[in-house]
Symmetry: C2
Subunit: 248 residues, 2 copies
Amino acid sequence: MALSNHGHSTPLTQKLDNIINLTDDERSVLINLPMQVQTITADQDIVREGDRPARSCVILDGYAVTYKTTGDGKRQIHAFHIRGDVPDLQSLHLTVLDNSLSTITTCIVGFIQHEVVRDLCRRYPRIGEALWRETLIDASIFREWMTNVGRREAYDRMSHLLCEWMTRLRTAGLVQDHTCDMPMTQQELADAMGVTPVHVNRVLQELRGDGLIELKGNKLTILDWEQLKAVGDFDPTYLHLVREQAAA
Amino acid sequence: MALSNHGHSTPLTQKLDNIINLTDDERSVLINLPMQVQTITADQDIVREGDRPARSCVILDGYAVTYKTTGDGKRQIHAFHIRGDVPDLQSLHLTVLDNSLSTITTCIVGFIQHEVVRDLCRRYPRIGEALWRETLIDASIFREWMTNVGRREAYDRMSHLLCEWMTRLRTAGLVQDHTCDMPMTQQELADAMGVTPVHVNRVLQELRGDGLIELKGNKLTILDWEQLKAVGDFDPTYLHLVREQAAA
DNA sequence: CGAAATCTTGAGTATAATCAAAAACGGTGG
DNA sequence: CCACCGTTTTTGATTATACTCAAGATTTCG
């Protein structure tokens, strides 16, 4: 009774709670996890390809991307990260980072030592499994993105990306009236889709013209979800949402 | 002394041994893992998108692919699998499969119940970590493929794919004199690269014409590794090979 | 208010797709 | 061993999606 943490939560407990319904004990441990919190301004690398970090980070607030740069300077974004994500959890078991992680807005980031995470996994196997599961979902999303980039043309590809974005934000409770944040620039969208920013612009114009979306400032509104979903060939199975999360 | 398994090995122990240097005890458990072995002819699905399998499989011999099909029937291959791979290990923690797994040659496949794997991870945490690590490497390769498909033109993209293929086969001891198996058809290469088979053919012609590769029957020979590596912008870091494996 | 970044538009070009058909290959059975 | 059939590879001609280059409009932010 003494240490009940009902009502307390962090972006991380929220996320894991969705998966495994944390016990009070587990929740308590997670909330009290030793963590170095830091605010990082927009467009700053948090870790870089080639680093050998001894800690992973949780995005507590803001938006971030993981990406890779090719020899001739082109950039591929692999994922957009939101509150609750642990974008470099992989470094727990892979010594060298093979991608970079960068903020796209001001972020509040929590760093946790790998030793602490390893200890957590040992003492609380359910949390360990949930974390493994998280990395497997990341991999699943990579497969879907690969499919999107390799096998859908730009208009459909963008529709798919927007459906996924809205779905993930909804899961995190960040959607109101079919409207959510859209912090990425057209250059960043281009780097995620494997096209040029000019082409992103044209595709967005078209989506607007067709009455599927509204996009101004940093706010996205989906006007015709069913149509956008159909065009983007979007099936959220690959996000492996649990239960009620899956509901639109 | 009684149960020493020195010298005994399976594709799976070989792979894990590369990562964590198995103890006799661990090796013995892995060799005696209850496993249902089955031979499957070429071009057969082993598991399909949407399945909820209660077991994972190890490729004991032959070559396989994981892939996804879009709404309008296009196919994206996410990975080519070789002896020792566990292509659907993810299903251990994700109930619904979000991709399919198919043979491309006759394969010998071993099926292991998830319950057995979970028990293994609990009793032998080092093996558990090694398996998690394997799935993280898969994810790393997905990121690289996404980059390859999204940000490199077909000629470079094919070079990269061939470099990776040769490197992975070398790690598994399947390369002799810069020559290895190349079991995939041009259609399959196309589905992996996100282009048409016609274009794959033209790119291969060009690579042959430039003296970089030889490709006939189902055998690939790399004639100019340095050049192919340069063209493909290939850096094997993302494969996370250990020690001497990394050597060409 | 002004500079920098981002977004938008246009014109010309290139990489890769599509369509179609022929050649080569690989396995099978007579 | 060779003929045959289906698959795979190859080649050609045309088209389309997306890129490049460039400049102008708009937004953002100090």
